[in-house]
Structure formats: structure tokens, C-alpha cells
Symmetry: C2
Subunit: 468 residues, 2 copies
């Protein structure tokens, strides 16, 4: 055990690298970068050495792009596979680009298949080939096989290092096997029990093995009810299964039902967080929303969404255009119309957020869609009525025009109903049509609330003879 192992993570806070929220302190980041700039690699290394790999990865993310290369040079010997495995994709890609194929291969060979694949999968094809050539044949074969599965599938996530034993073994046999084979992996939480065809028949938590006498058969300790992950399953689906069944690890099987790998929960946790966070970003048209993304890519993603929205905004404007005559005679209509459309937009976004989230977590299924529509209709009616009364009374008090008050109140109720219904129906329909509701719903919902908001208010005003 060396010196750094004596530092518990709690101590990092006390010794001043981390703030109370477990983030690297700006003073600390500055101190490291100052040392690097001053060419004092020794000082930089001694500052960084006590950090956990996850914190070293964070340090790179907090360092401005143009200074990351210098930092990497200064602390090369601290940059092991674990640090790369924890790093943001874009930051890692940048750094990896600056390393030679042999260096990347050295890093990859330290890691479990899944982490090695994560590092290699985003490289340019030529670089990828060079790294693969530099790996030893076993590692290369494992990584090449993983790369043959679709991106974001279980096959990419899984590691091939796992423990599988036959059902007829005893607990003692299993323990002796684990003690006697140096080459086996040391990090696992469950062992898989397989039949002679290498198909999983059960899973055994290590705690059960440790609590059972040596003579008992593994078949009597294991749980036969298990969640098997097909190798081509999408990672979002894998994450939902881990969550639903509170899994720590799970066996991955090929099309023939044979055990080919293992996925552990620590590889899933960041996917759960990403997938849940993605919805917020997609709903707002911010794409991946990764702050480390190259700026040109961010601009491209966002402008696409904005141009689509410009189209719907022009459509809404054309509705206003139909009533230019009324507006010219009674400009107050133009003053009040954005309130009706805006409030509809707000109400629609509320419903949309709830529905998108419920769809993503499998809480909203065809069994309760009808109930959900009714529920949102009732909420929209209640809120629409309250907002209608408020804005109606406000309009009457401020402008003393009871006709205008009645018109805006009615328009507000109508547009809230439009918002509530389209907030459910649009994402549910998109989901059924196989389109990600988080990506596309907001455009349609806003279009509905804008168009209908202007149309209801100005149309009613025109019927009522306001500005006529």
C-alpha cells in the first residue's frame, strides 16, 4: 500500500482540493495550471497525485482546451486508464488524439473491455486500426468483437471478464477455483452459473456464497430467476432493466442464449443519469447539450431547431396577419394577444414535460393513456378557468372594457385546453409512431398554443365586434 492509499476521499475535502459539494476548488485548479505554466511539472504532479481518477478527469474538463495538452504532458504518469474511463467523451477524444497509438494501446490494455471500447470506439478508423495492431492478440480480439456490436448496445457496454461456473460444483469448488486462478478478474459482484452449452441457468451473489458451507451445491445457492440482457439490446433499455429490477450485475447473452459478457451497475449509473438528463436537453432543442462539445457542432444543432421554430413562429404570425384590420383599429388587441399565446405555451410545456418523463420511465403505457388524457384535461380546465378569471378581471379593472375582459377570459380557457390536450396527445402519438417524443414534441405543442392562442383571442374579438 503506498502513501496515496492512506488518503480517504473525505480527506480530500479537508486538505482543500474539493469543496463541500465534491467539486474541485477553483484555487486548486489554478494552482495546478500555474505550476504547469511555470514548467514545474514536479509541483503539478504532487498536487494531482492524491486525487481520485474521477477528480483527475474533472481537472481536465475544468482546464481550458488549449492548456489540456500541457497538463497531460506534465502529469503523464498519473494518466492511467481509470482517468480516461471517467473523462467526458469530447475531452478524452482531444487528449487521445495527442497520444501515439502505442500509448493508447497501453492505456486500453489496462482496462476491462467495456472501458477500452469506450476509449477506442470514437477514434478515426485509421487510428483505431493502429491501436488495435498495438494491442496483444487477446485484448484485440475482445475489443474487435465488442466493436462489431451496434453503438449504444449491450455488446458495447459489457465486459467479457466474468466468472462462470457449472451448476454441479459446490461452494467449496467455486472458492478453490477463484483462489487458484491468478488470471481471473478480481472485480465482480455475482458469479454466473452455466449449463454445459454455456447458457446461464442462475446467478449467485457473492454474499450468499460466503454465508454458505463449502459442501453445499452452487445449484442450491443460486437464484434461477434472473434478468438476462440480449447482446443487441439498446443501452437505454438496459438501464431501465437495471433500475426496475435493482440489479448489481447482469449476464449478457448472444442470440443463441449463450453467456458472452457481463454488465455491472457502475457502467449503468452514468447512462441512467445521461438518459434522464437528455430529455431536458432534447425538449429544448439543445441536442446533447454537452458543454465540452466543439462550439461549431453546438451552433449547428441549435440553429437547426431554431430554424424549425422560426417556421412555426411565422405560421403563428400569419394568423395574426389575418386580423391586421382589427388591430389597426384597436391596438390593445396586439398588447394583450401575447399573454394568451404565452400562457398557453407555459401550460403546454408543463404537461409536455410530465408526459415525456412518464413515457421515458415507462410509467405511461397504453394501459393508462386514456386516464392520463382525462387527467390533463381536468387540470387544464381548472387552470384555464382560474387564469381566465384572473386575466378577465385584470383587463376589466385596468382598461374598464368588459367586452375585452370576456373575450380574453374565454380565449385563455380555450387555449389552456388546447395546451393540455396537445401536451399529451402529441408526445403520445409521436411515441407510437416510433419518434422520440422528447426531440419533436415541443415544436408542435408550441405551434398549437401560439396559433390557437392568437386565433382564439383575435377571432373572438373580431366576432364580438371589438375593433370592428
Amino acid at each position: 500500500m503506498n502513501e496515496t492509499d492512506l488518503t480517504s476521499v473525505g480527506d480530500e475535502v479537508e486538505t482543500g482540493q474539493l469543496d463541500e459539494d465534491d467539486r474541485l476548488k477553483p484555487e486548486f485548479v489554478r494552482a495546478v495550471l500555474d505550476a504547469v505554466e511555470a514548467g514545474d511539472d514536479e509541483a503539478a504532479r504532487s498536487l494531482v497525485e492524491p486525487l481520485h481518477p474521477a477528480d483527475i478527469a474533472d481537472l481536465f474538463e475544468l482546464t481550458p482546451n488549449e492548456r489540456r495538452g500541457d497538463l497531460a504532458k506534465a502529469i503523464t504518469d498519473l494518466l492511467d486508464g481509470d482517468v480516461f474511463a471517467e473523462m467526458n467523451d469530447y475531452v478524452r477524444e482531444d487528449l487521445i488524439d495527442s497520444l501515439s497509438a502505442t500509448q493508447v494501446a497501453d492505456i486500453a490494455s489496462e482496462l476491462d473491455t467495456d472501458d477500452a471500447v469506450a476509449i477506442i470506439e470514437d477514434m478515426e478508423e485509421d487510428d483505431q486500426r493502429a491501436v488495435l495492431r498495438a494491442l496483444d492478440p487477446d485484448d484485440r480480439a475482445a475489443i474487435e468483437e465488442a466493436l462489431s456490436y451496434p453503438e449504444e448496445s449491450a455488446g458495447r457496454l459489457m465486459q467479457r471478464e466474468l466468472i462462470a461456473v457449472p451448476e454441479h460444483w459446490t461452494v467449496g469448488d467455486a472458492i478453490d477455483y477463484l483462489r487458484g486462478h491468478e488470471e481471473l478478474t478480481t472485480d465482480f459482484w455475482e458469479i454466473f452459473v452455466v449449463d454445459p452449452g454455456h447458457k446461464p441457468v442462475g446467478t449467485c451473489q457473492l454474499s450468499w456464497i460466503l454465508r454458505t458451507p463449502r459442501t453445499v451445491s452452487i445449484g442450491d445457492v443460486m437464484k434461477r430467476e434472473q434478468t438476462l440482457i440480449p447482446v443487441d439490446m439498446d443501452q437505454e433499455e438496459v438501464a431501465l432493466r437495471f433500475q426496475k429490477y435493482a440489479l448489481i450485475s447482469a449476464a449478457v447473452i448472444d442470440a443463441g442464449g449463450r453467456l458472452v459478457g457481463m454488465i455491472t451497475v457502475d457502467d449503468i449509473v452514468h447512462i441512467i443519469s445521461e438518459e434522464a438528463g437528455e430529455d431536458i436537453l432534447r425538449l429544448s432543442g439543445a441536442g446533447e447539450g454537452d458543454i465540452n462539445e466543439p462550439i461549431a457542432l453546438t451552433v449547428r444543432t441549435r440553429i437547426t431547431w431554431l430554424v424549425v421554430n422560426l417556421g412555426t413562429a411565422m405560421l403563428a404570425a400569419s394568423v395574426v396577419g389575418l386580423f391586421q384590420g382589427e388591430i389597426a383599429k384597436f391596438a390593445l388587441l396586439a398588447v394583450l394577444m401575447p399573454i394568451v399565446s404565452g400562457m398557453g405555451g407555459n401550460a403546454g410545456t408543463q404537461t409536455l414535460a410530465v408526459v415525456v418523463r412518464a413515457l421515458a420511465t415507462n410509467q405511461l403505457t397504453s394501459s393508462n393513456t386514456a386516464r392520463m388524457i382525462l387527467r390533463e384535461f381536468r387540470i387544464a380546465a381548472a387552470n384555464g378557468a382560474m387564469l381566465g378569471i384572473l386575466i378577465g378581471m385584470g383587463t376589466w379593472l385596468i382598461f374598464g372594457n368588459s367586452d375585452l375582459a370576456i373575450v380574453i377570459a374565454m380565449a385563455m380557457v380555450m387555449n389552456n385546453l388546447v395546451a393540455g390536450l396537445s401536451g399529451v396527445l402529441i408526445p403520445v402519438s409521436l411515441e407510437r409512431a416510433g419518434v422520440d417524443p422528447a426531440v419533436s414534441s415541443a415544436v408542435f405543442v408550441t405551434m398549437m398554443t401560439d396559433v390557437m392562442g392568437f386565433f382564439c383571442f383575435l377571432g373572438l374579438a373580431s366576432l364580438w365586434g371589438l375593433g370592428g
Copy 2:
């Protein structure tokens, strides 16, 4: 091993209870409810029996409120603690209300402290006391202690059932201890090594124990670098630590540094997902956004937000009010003004979503705030310029009015810069002031983009003499 244990979860799909996305099929839900309604409890039970507890919990969530009681009566013997532990809070509360204190105590006593606490913590005080009285003294003491910690803290999340051993033991001692003590917990992934004062000195994965000869000392197998969780730490912070350091379980310590409990990753996974999903709901003012929430509570949460937004919408409208004269003379201004404010709103929401997410995941800290502001400014300038050109050209082509085209293009650029800057500055300032940026940012950002959108466009138009 009984019959049901032979069903692997994969089989549930084949036998038709689950669809390919792992959700209960509507036909299946209907079949169960039809059996319950027909009074055929036997049939309902045999349908539900093969399900995993998580799926039984889902079944209750998918059942309309008023029929959940009947379902519970029909399948009482399948309703064990695991099912309740998996259930949505609101659905569980409803069901628990319909049970007697002794029934609840029976369920709670089956569970680890953390799950028992989750069931009991939301009960009315009287009912809570009745349940605690019905528990046996040990369970009661454990639960009462957990309830003494703040809600959503590590103390509520942790279980007290854990394995702690002294450092001087050998691997063999630990295994014999685990085999020889019936009363110990069976589900654990790591054992904690403590000093004589019961303070944690290291953590030992079970796999390391299984791979090491009996004679080796635990002190040589364990890892001294460990992440300790203070008992009063907020659950969101706990979840971030689990994520950052890829933890499977962690020791919880009291103020004196003594080991008082253990948190496992399966209890954290749903918090990670909830916390990440919460942002989307908070940003849109949908509160918790739980579709099982009582409708009156949902209406109350949403209307509060809508009324606040009504205030900002009226403020924006009053800006339009300043230019009624111009609008009356040139109604086209009213047609085009929502485009400028709406596009600003869209751009602001994009930035806001990215910033809120980066703050929540600790990716945006004071070390890189300045860089982030610059980044968003550049994006806003690029997108604003593109949108300005588009709308300017569009306006010129459609209305043949080059003055109007120049005014709207300039207003568009200005409002995009407002959107980009307020999209960063508002959430960052709120976070520094200790306010949750996800809850409050959107109101301010939309207010800025609406007010400034109208003001820039109509103000420039007025200066330019359009409608003058």
C-alpha cells in the same frame, strides 16, 4: 425452490405479461382486473404470481385509483414488502392507508431499514405511532432512529444491516463469522473494516475475499481509500458521489466518525434518475410531475407557476402598450413582434437547459463559468446573426419593406444575445445565491426575452420612423 423461481424474467416476455419494452401489456392488466371484478381472486392470483415484485408494483400503478383496493384484497398474499418498496410513493400511501397498523408492521418488519422507513415516513403521525408500536423493539428502535434524520438525507436512505469486521482478522476468520451467524444480513456487496472505536478504516469487496487465501489478513486485502458518507448528507449529494466514484456500496458515518449504516447502489439508482428527471419538470414548472400525484396537488403546483408567468406576461404586454400608437398606424408590427420574442425564448431555453444540467452534474463550477459565458455569447452571436439574416430576408421578400427587414433583423440579433447571456447568468447567479436554478430560472429568462424582444423590435421600429 418453488415453481415461480424457475421463471426467468426473460420468460415473462414470452408468456405474454410484458411487452418488448419490459412494460406490462394492457391485455394482461385488463385480464387481471377483469378477474378481480368477477370476484375470481384465484384467477387473479395465478396471473399475478409469476411477476417480479417490481412488476406487481407497476400493476398497481397502471390500475385506476378506485380499483386498487379491490386488487389488493384479491392478491393480499402476494403483497410483500418488496412490492411496496418498488411502488410509487402516492400509490403506496393510498394502499397503506387501507391497511391496519399490524398489517403495515408485518410488511415493514420484512424489510431492510431503508425500505421500511420509506414506507413509514409518509404516514400520518398517529398511524406512524401505531405501526411503530406493533413492531418488535429492535426494528422499532432502528426505524425511530432513521426517522430522526432529516428527510432525503443519507440517514433515511441507509440500512443498518451490514457486515463490519476488525482489521486484525484473517480472511478465514471473516468467512467463518459469516457462515456461523444466522442472524447476519444476506445481501451485501462489501464488508467494512472498523477500528475498535467502530470507525471505518477500509472497505473490502467480496470478490477480493473470495480470491484470497484464508490466512491473509483482512487489513492486507481491504482498500483504505474509501468514500465515507456523513449521515446528514443530502441524498442528491450522495447520488453524485456514487456516480462519480462508481460505488456499489458505501459506509455511512455519524458526526463522531463511527460506522452507523450502509447505502447500496440499488437504493441510489432511482434517486439518480429522479434527480436528473426532476430538472426537466422543475424548469417547466410542473413540480414533481408525478403522474400518480393527487390531481388537486398538481393543479395547485402548476397554477402557482402559471400565475407567476402571468405576471411576467403582463409586464411584457405593458412594453407593447408603450407602442400602441405605432401599432395602430402600422399593424404589421403586431404581426411580426411575436416572432422576435418567441425566437428569443427558444434560444434562451436552449442555453438554460444546458446550463441547468451542467450545474446539476457539477460540470459547471466557478473554474469554468467565465469560459461558459463566453461560449454561450459566441453561440448566441452566431445563431442570432443567422436568424436575423433569415427573418430579414423573409420580411423583405414578403412585404417588400427594407426598413422593416433591417429593423427585425437587428432586433433578432439583439434578442438572441439577451437570450444567450440571461440563459447563463440567471441560473448561475441563482445557484450562487443558494436558489435551485431549475425551479426559478425559466421565469426570469422568459421575462427577459419577452420584454427585450418587444422592446428591441418596437423600439427600433419607432426610432426608424416605421409607423411614425
